[in-house]
């Protein structure tokens, strides 16, 4: 909180120690003010469906998970992957195939796990061949981009009825419809999340219906964000950052950089797979447009504009940009996106959210105090 002496472990209170797991030089926000603002923001998201279009926001939150997956892989380990949508799509299709074949609550729950595993496994396979094969830097980007194109072309031609896995026809261009509604649990003890509005009544406000799916996504998003905060501020997270900054140097400190990139890439794939599962569950439909070039570029755009080295930036930018994109007429949205990207690269290469944070921190500290012993951020840097 507000002490200036270097804090040592036994003297810090439990809340401070807990908080320190989530804070560090690799994420934005290490002051009490930030956390209060965070809680307010989450509360606002929780209340939003009462006033606004929760269905649309649930889509953006699902996509924010995809943005986070790229942030972890690119912002924190330096691997620019255009292939996150590949793992997203594989997660979505896997969920669809398994849930169509086993349309019971237990089966659908297993399908969710299968989708996440599908995303992670495909990332592991691609990552294995790339990283252990010595592919680096821009060639990784090219290969991930190519894998997106390959998936798109392949899935688009799976129209014939021979392209079916059990009961689930892949459907080619037309996609795979009739994905069962998302139900978690087992027979007899399950809960259905889609199209299952939960009526609520609050005195003074009235009665309204809440969508369980929206809250499921909100919980997953907040949980993933916090979990990733802990990860990137941990020892392992610092190594990830070192890999991003200078691979060769980090190798020379005794770290197995190849394995680190492989592990992080797999984690990113699993996270993208989760996002894909939720996407397919929300639309009860999936088609090959998730492998399209435009969709492959979107995560890169979100994360670049939001600030690639910032988890918060990835989430905020995804929500904001997707909202803008949906609200604007066709080509105008693309023009806006391109302009935003240009502005970011030219003026704020670190991204918007880190810049905003810096303005807030500078304003709070006042001129001349930045970095001094009274700086509120200093206490959180002294970590174990």
């Amino acid at each position: 909180m507000s002490s200036t002496e270097p804090t040592s472990a036994p003297n810090r209170s439990l809340p401070d120690r807990l908080r320190s797991r989530f804070e560090g030089p690799n994420t934005i926000g290490d002051s009490r003010g930030f956390w209060v603002g965070f809680v307010v923001a989450v509360a606002a998201l929780a209340v939003y469906p009462v006033f606004g279009d929760g269905s649309q926001l649930s889509l953006f939150m699902v996509l924010a998970l995809l943005g986070l997956s790229l942030s972890v892989v690119w912002g924190y380990s330096g691997v620019l992957s255009f292939g996150q949508v590949v793992f997203f799509g594989i997660g979505a299709y896997t969920f669809g195939v398994v849930s169509i074949n086993f349309a019971t609550p237990g089966g659908i729950t297993a399908a969710v796990v299968a989708g996440i595993v599908g995303g992670g496994l495909s990332a592991a396979i691609l990552g294995y061949f790339m990283f252990y094969g010595g592919v680096r830097d821009v060639y990784v980007t090219i290969i991930t981009l190519v894998s997106t194109i390959v998936m798109h072309t392949f899935m688009a031609q799976t129209a014939g009825s021979e392209w079916a896995i059990g009961e689930a026809a892949l459907g080619g261009f037309n996609g795979m419809p009739d994905i069962p509604v998302l139900t978690l649990g087992v027979e007899g003890a399950s809960y259905q999340f889609m199209y299952n509005p939960f009526p609520m009544r609050v005195i003074g406000i009235g009665s309204f219906e809440l969508s369980p799916f929206y809250y499921l996504v909100l919980v997953l998003l907040v949980g993933t964000y916090l979990g990733l905060r802990v990860l990137v501020n941990s020892d392992y997270g610092r190594v990830m950052v070192a890999v991003r900054e200078d691979e060769d140097r980090t190798e020379m400190f005794g770290y197995n950089v190849t394995r680190i990139k492989f592990v992080v890439f797999t984690l990113g794939g699993a996270l993208a797979g989760l996002s894909g599962v939720l996407y397919a569950a929300r639309n009860v439909y999936i088609d090959p447009t998730v492998f399209s070039l435009l969709f492959a570029t979107l995560p890169v755009i979100w994360v670049s504009i939001g600030g690639r080295k910032s988890l918060l930036g990835a989430v905020v930018a995804t929500l904001a940009i997707e909202y803008l994109r949906i609200s604007m007429a066709g080509e105008l949205a693309l023009v806006l996106l391109g302009t935003l990207l240009l502005v970011t690269i030219l003026v704020l290469p670190g991204g918007f959210v880190p810049w905003v944070h810096r303005q807030i921190v500078d304003a709070r500290l006042g001129p001349g105090e930045a970095g001094g012993p009274d700086a509120p951020d200093a206490s959180s840097e002294v970590s174990d």
Binding site: S161, F173, N174, D287
Partner: protein
């Protein structure tokens, strides 16, 4: 140690204000729940979601225009049962995700009484779950591979079996039994090629070879060579999209003049106007409608073509799907008047009792003929035409007759009033020769 506490409050205040502003900006329309009805006693509301930008803009835009033309005419003539038609029209930009969002908006917020949406089959499949979940009356008007047996969907465009079914037998008789198929490598192309095999079998013809071409492909040199080697009596072409247009130009340069039967070229993308002659020479299009269809109600004075270009003087062409949007709007009008209400279940019942339209409202049908909505399958028994382009790209009709929808009604046994379902059937399930 002092820390300016006012700035923390400022931060909270700013973020709070930003959130509230965000909420205010974000909420569009009536919000999460909606209990009011969209149509008052005086009006009803129709949703029109057609591609006016993006990949399918060329073929989607005339659909939107034709729907609006029909609605304008109906309103000018007293509306439907005295009710004026309001519209919720948006451009989903050939983007299936946008289609899903707009469909949800149309149903949940705009409470449309009927919805027209989508060009491609992928779009239809993307929104069909939403349609079915919400029991929304939905008209799908594009020519497509056929087989959709869905209690809420009225796929009123011509099916592949109908389109190929008029042109293939004619070409077999005129030119001979050996066929070479080229088709776009995705659902529509593959299923159409399956129908070619089925029809060939029914007409004692043989398919010498099939070639499936990726949508992104635009160089056809090797395809043209293979056609020349195979030396078929005619070619069946189900190529789709901008890239595939270059096939026709390349074949003309290569001097390949074998007759070509098609369900996709000319009627939708008006290649005969856009490409230089004689690229489309000797092309036989099997369609329910194109701008040149020689019925009085179409090309006569004050006919459909005249009315369309009066409203849209800058439009480049009046394509196949536009006519389907047009007549299906009139079919809806008839059904509502028959049902006496806009309540969707009753209107669907009225549609299922079978609706017929004459040439005035369905310009594809010649004077004295009608087209019929088959209540059991929700498909239309179209009046089909073979339209041929010559060396100067003049288009004239070669043959025409009504072709009923048979796959669902006879082969698959789709009977929606008795057995409501939400399925798509494919020829491979029923015909050995389609495999």
């Amino acid at each position: 140690m002092s820390r300016p506490s006012v700035s923390r409050r400022q931060f909270l205040g700013a973020s709070g204000a930003a959130l509230v502003a965000g909420l205010a900006g974000c909420s569009a329309g009536e919000g999460g729940t909606s209990t009011d009805t969209a149509s008052s006693a005086e009006t009803l509301k129709i949703g029109v979601l057609e591609d006016q930008s993006g990949n399918f803009a060329l073929v989607g835009d005339p659909k939107a225009k034709a729907s609006m033309l029909a609605i304008e005419e109906i309103n000018a003539n007293g509306g439907i049962d005295g009710m004026q038609i309001e519209t919720f029209q948006r451009d989903p930009q050939s983007d299936n995700q946008r289609y899903q969002e707009l469909t949800r908006t149309a149903i949940n917020e705009e409470n449309v009484d009927a919805l027209w949406a989508g060009y491609s089959s992928a779009t239809r499949e993307a929104i069909r779950p939403i349609i079915d979940r919400n029991e929304q009356l939905y008209f799908y008007t594009t020519q497509y591979e056929g087989g959709v047996c869905d209690e809420f969907t009225f796929a009123v465009g011509p099916t592949a079996r109908q389109q190929l079914g008029i042109v293939l037998p004619y070409l077999v008789e005129e030119f001979g039994p050996d066929i070479y198929t080229i088709a776009a490598d995705y659902n529509f192309g593959q299923l159409s090629a399956d129908w070619v095999k089925v029809l060939a079998n029914e007409n004692d013809a043989n398919v010498l070879g099939e070639e499936f071409i990726p949508l992104s492909e635009s160089s056809f040199g090797s395809t043209i060579n293979r056609i020349q080697e195979a030396d078929p009596d005619f070619v069946m072409s189900m190529l789709v999209g901008a890239n595939h247009t270059s096939f026709y130009e390349q074949k003309a340069s290569a001097g390949l003049d074998v007759p070509i039967g098609t369900s996709t070229a000319m009627a939708q993308g008006y290649e005969h106007r856009r490409l230089d002659a004689p690229a489309m020479a000797n092309i036989y299009a099997g369609v329910n409608y194109m701008e040149e269809v020689p019925t009085d109600s179409n090309t006569g004075d004050g006919g459909f073509v005249d009315r369309y270009f009066e409203k849209y003087p800058d439009a480049p062409y009046l394509n196949e799907e536009a006519e389907t949007n047009y007549f299906s709007t009139y079919m809806y009008k008839k059904a509502v008047e028959q049902a006496g209400t806009t309540e969707q279940p009753e209107v669907i019942d009225a549609l299922e009792s079978g609706i017929e339209l004459g040439t005035e409202e369905a310009p594809e049908a010649p004077e004295g003929e009608t087209i019929r909505l088959d209540g059991a399958t929700h498909h239309v028994d179209h009046h089909m035409w073979i339209m041929r382009a010559d060396e100067e790209h003049n288009v004239e009709a070669v043959e025409n007759r009504q072709i009923p929808e048979t796959f669902l009604s006879e082969t698959a046994g789709c009977n929606l009033p008795e057995n409501p379902e939400q399925t798509q059937y494919t020829p491979v399930d029923y015909y050995e020769e389609a495999e």
